[in-house]
Symmetry: C2
């Protein structure tokens, strides 16, 4: 049986099909609707939930967000009211570009949707590292989890037992956000990281060390360790073996639960079959208008690579804030509007871990000149100032290219640096910026200014 | 008797004299020392305190800062250790530019200080409006105060009686900061403002209204009213008469204390006598290097006017953050270094009033295009989001020229806009900026982005 075709043939309006209803896909639908009030817009989503916040999952596990349903940002009803046809639990089997038709299955029904513009927002799935015994017949063994979807989060949530042990493989943002959630649920948490430092893709080793020292008070962390093997009892994980990469020493960690948080793998099989150009790592390559190499086919979000603002090298996206901006662009363009993105991504990112706010933007290339300042958020004479550490990166000509921060309002301070990068500001100009001052709010010279003063002094010394 | 001359004659080093040890003067001394380790640096200050925070005074009155001495940012001892000669309770009588000598009195002693460079940082004093009976023989009558110095603040502080009435004339930042302090001390506070809105020099009427509505829950505020006359009993204020400017209606307000916070008048008699060019309003006019019209004489802080970054019109300084930046420039330049300020001031400013953070930057000219957004500091699904209202101003070409904000992290958000103004960014570029996103910290699209989206939509509509 073919559903959905009758409406297609009757109408003359623009037809937009979006595959995937994550942050990118949902936003694209919204902006397509804003751009063309008459367009036929269809989202095809393989899971059962409409657009929800993946980034919110750790906080629903910890209970800060009291209910998983709260994570749903736009309900089925919302899409209905916006005149967007949302097909849930519907899996796209094939994209026929020559006929401009998407063929999908919903249960036993085959659905064909013709399109003028297609937006691929298929996202990514967790990367499962080669740990012995982690899978049985292609499925993770009992007690082993990933954290990507609401269902994953509910599975973890229902397995939490106060006082029991959980091991998380991967000390990136998601691994550590989850570590905090499970610590708050009074589990005994161990984190295993293969790299020499935690949050290695977010901050430099010196800042990483500050965070490690703080987190280590609550959670056991092994850096430089890789998980090699799992032991189970009655098909449930009981132990994980880890190996110290520096000397080969093996250690076994008793554990009741194991969560894999070692990164993502793009979902790009459909895009590949459609002829979209992929990167070496199999991400879809897109331009500043979110166009793929195939005419009328756009791609956005975690399944794509796009250039870095500073280096112009192609990099995987992997941030909700970027997926949303790509969604705005692709949705607008697919509906006949015009929204070109900036010439690359700054990768502004933030997280709160164990009461520390952490944020970063831009480049932290080791050849750059750095200025690091540790200070307080308030003038010294005003009570309640909170620590802030900020590290700014500039090239030898003094152009600001990046920053990392930990502490009070790290994210907002990083936003200011992000604006400075976008505005092509150099250290000498930016350090003269009047930042807002009032005793209960900020000192006359903010930490961002003082970090830049250090770079200025280094550069002047070099000139001598 | 002549003090201080012997050292002058013996040394060949550069001699820098600074008049005034406020934020500007103290900072200038510090940066002069950084620039020239051997220079002879003298600060002459008429009051008895070394550099302290004037902006902190309301918080010492409220008790948040537990002790007035805490406000002292750099002690006499600090200046001594830095090799800076700080002469307190010393009043400059005359500057002889031809001989490059400053003549001052300390008690009965006459001090002569020769200089190679002179920095005038004489500040400003409260403007006393023409209210009948406010002064007796040139002095404010009992119960009437101003708030400019530590002594003023101590006087107010020692007059506070819980449950008694205080009237504050002027609803600018200082008037309202003080209103909050006295409210916290459980006084009954009335504020009288001649203009139609409070904080008229900081925010537009629409934002002012939000603040007024909040403050009015705690403090009685009369806008459009001017104080005309004071009544006293046994030489102590008992009543103030105010007149509604709109219809001439008179009202009498019973009051135990009265504080004047209607602005400042520059202290520029010395500068004028020295031949420094003054503005119509009698502020010293300075250039981007803090030089006055007289060779080797610099001026900084509240006694100066400097151009606005956007309009390039000359405006009084009046902000501690600017005084400090001028101090850096004048101190460095006077000591043979080179520190040119930005080409005008952005006037970034902030305050916290009754738990509302308020901030502003740049221009709010009524001919500009505005985008105002009311939102939350966090995604809707995350508990604890705080209100934020932000209004951005751009010209018809979309160039960002100003912003005002109330609420969560208003100051930091305004700093980001300040960086955008400095970087000459337009709305279309800035609204594409990736701001830091994480559920516990900020939504995917921050209020600053959404305010700019509104401007973008208005400008696109105009183009059609």
């Amino acid at each position: 049986m073919l559903l959905g075709q009758v409406g297609d043939y009757l109408s003359q309006e623009r037809k937009i099909v979006i595959i995937g209803c994550g942050a990118g896909g949902g936003t694209a639908a919204q902006f397509a609707r804003k751009t063309d009030r008459k367009a036929s817009i269809t989202i095809i989503e393989k899971d059962k939930n409409p657009q929800y916040s993946k980034c919110g999952l750790p906080y629903a596990i910890s209970g800060i967000i009291p209910n998983f349903d709260n994570l749903i940002e736009f309900s089925e009803d919302w899409f209905k009211r916006a005149g967007i046809d949302l097909l849930l639990e519907t899996k796209v089997e094939k994209i026929d570009v020559s006929k401009k038709v998407v063929i999908a299955n919903k249960g036993d029904n085959v659905i064909e949707k013709t399109f003028d513009s297609l937006i691929i927002a298929t996202g990514a799935k967790p990367l499962i590292p080669p740990i012995e015994n982690i899978q049985d017949q292609g499925k993770l063994i009992n007690g082993v989890f990933v954290l990507r979807t609401i269902d994953d989060a509910k599975d973890i949530s229902s397995s939490i037992i106060k006082g029991k042990k959980v091991t998380i493989i991967g000390a990136g943002l998601i691994g550590l956000e989850l570590a905090e959630s499970l610590y708050k649920k009074e589990m005994k948490v161990t984190v295993v990281e293969a790299l020499p430092s935690i949050l290695a893709y977010t901050v430099d080793q010196d800042l990483s060390k500050i965070i490690l020292d703080e987190i280590s008070k609550k959670v056991e962390i092994f850096t430089n360790h890789i998980a090699t093997k799992i032991e189970n009892d009655s098909d449930k994980v009981t132990k994980v073996f880890v190996e110290d990469k520096r000397n080969g020493t093996e250690k076994e960690i008793q554990t009741d639960l194991l969560v894999i948080a070692t990164g993502l793998k793009p979902e790009t099989t459909l895009a590949k079959d459609t002829g979209c150009k992929l990167s070496k790592k199999e991400y879809i390559i897109v331009n500043n208008n979110c166009e793929t190499s195939v005419k009328d086919v756009y791609a956005i979000g975690d399944c794509t690579e796009f250039k870095d603002f500073i280096t112009k090298k192609s990099i995987p996206i992997g941030l909700g804030s970027i997926a949303v901006r790509q969604g705005i662009s692709a949705g607008t363009n697919a509906a006949g509007g015009n929204y070109t993105l900036l010439d690359g991504f700054l990768q502004t990112c933030t997280s709160e871990l164990f009461n520390m706010e952490i944020a970063a933007v831009g480049s932290s290339d080791e050849n750059l000149v750095t200025g690091k300042f540790n200070g307080l958020s308030l003038p010294h004479y005003f009570p309640g100032g909170k620590p802030i550490t900020i590290k700014v990166f500039a090239n030898k000509d003094g152009k600001i290219l990046g920053a990392q921060a930990i502490g009070d309002n790290a994210a907002q301070r990083i936003n200011t640096i992000a604006a400075a990068i976008l505005g092509n500001l150099d250290i000498e100009t930016f350090r003269r910026l009047e930042t807002a001052y009032a005793p209960p709010i900020a000192p006359t010279l903010d930490a961002i200014t003082l970090a830049c003063d250090i770079i200025s002094a280094k550069l002047r010394k070099r000139q001598k």
